[in-house]
Amino acid sequence: MISDRLKKTILTELEIEDFDFVDETTANQVPNWDSLNHINVILAVEKEFKIKFKGAEILRIKNVGELEQLINAKLSG
């Protein structure tokens, strides 16, 4: 499950109305989420959750579910 807070952050950054996110959703399935825009999504997430990712951590993420897990790990760690 993708939290509403993460979902809202992504939607706002990509300027899209709504999208049905599941754990397996990958960036290329979401409108406007291309390789150039990717970094803006990451920055928006870091800002919203007040966390900082390591480079390799971002490179390892394969889908939205893994992003959610990483955020949770950072928040509880």
Partner: protein, 500 residues
Amino acid sequence: MFNSIDIIKLINLFVYDPHNPLLFGTSLFLFLFFGLLVFYRIFANNKNIRIIGVLVFSLFFYYKAAGAFFIILIVSTIFNFYAGKIIASLKTDTTKRLLFLIITLVINLGALGYFKYTNFFLQILNDIHLGKFEPLDIFLPIGISFYTFKALSYVIDIYLETFQPVKSFRDFSLFMFFFPNILIGPIDRAATFIPQIEGDQSITKGDIGKAIFLIMFGLLKKVAVADYISINFVDRVFEVPLRFTGFENLMAAYGYAIQMYCDFSGYTDMALGIALLLGFNLTENFRWPYKATSIADFWRRWHISLSSWLLDYLFRPLQIKFRNVQPIGNIAALMITFIVIGLWHGASWMYIVFGAIHGFYITFSLLTKKIKKKFFELTHLADTKSLKVVQIIITFHLVVFAFIIFRAPDFMTVSNILSQIFNSFHPEVIPQFLSGYTFIFELMAFAMLVHYLPEGWRYKVQEWLSNTPLIGQALILAVVIWIVIQVKSADLQPYLYFKF
């Protein structure tokens, strides 16, 4: 009876000859590959023997193209196999692990750099008067850029823990040596190739139809279109552009874009088809690139295995590194990536400028994104068919312009071609051109027409081929080979991509 000269001739067929690599279109290749397929069939139930058969064939294939330099391929394979193991054995996110990755990268890229860029670097030192250096006699081992990138994807994925090191050296060697993609790609990733070795390489009726289609379509693109228009038209104009009118220069620029695509994607199609007959699916490398509606879209359709490699292993890490200075960070990552794309093709300023221009195109598009979006909304053009057509035409011309720089030997030639196109176009030569170069024009028009057809036709042909009985498939293949022989004006031209 064989006399001694025949035997020597026969032996020579199997010895390295720099002018005669074992290209996919040659009769010797077709003959030997047929032998390999029979071998495959006989040992259908013994995977180990089949794989060893492909390994031996691959080494021979590479030896025919690179001679003694096949040693470098073997050394690189052994080195990266153990580097992967060592990196995997070190603890996550430790300095030691990172250090080991860096050493591996430096050794791989150092070897690539030595063979590819030493003389270019010495030339730059000469040009900026930092000394006087004679160029060194360095031979570029064919395919080194491709197999080095394959190996790097393997070690980096292990470092990122998105892929486990392979246990069997035999399997890793097959990934590195695999002859269909060793000379000019596609740059397959270990993560998609190695699991296929662990599978059973069975092929379906549909695979056979697809493979025959790819081999025929690739052969036609390469020999009947690319080689023919290059020898008989494009090369001549690029050699002395001032001898031709602006119209002819423009046609040659279009012709080169068609030639480049048909040559490179034709070879890749054959590689994909040949690999498929052995039970392996290689990465798709082209997806109708001239249907792109933007330059970013073009790079998602052109030489996909290289652009996605650089996207994953260069652009993304740089983008993350520079993420706190936006939008400059994004632009810097873009420009560096595209200059590397240019440089990857060879050590020359022409290639660097080619890459930089593409980087500039995408940067411009990125910076004007918001304005364009507003404009399209105001004029109700957004998501319309006519906007799409205009975008395709503009993108195609931007690509053609960059390809002129890619193809021309120097900037003088580029400037001559442009000045002919813009200052002495001479539209009155069009009827003359059409009557003098009828077949060239027809080939170019036909190639573009096929390119812009809706994509479904290809699958229909593949399905039809799959359902054709074996004898019919053989007949169709024979007809295509006959057509190719008819069109072939001279001996096989070396593939354009070989020097990279």
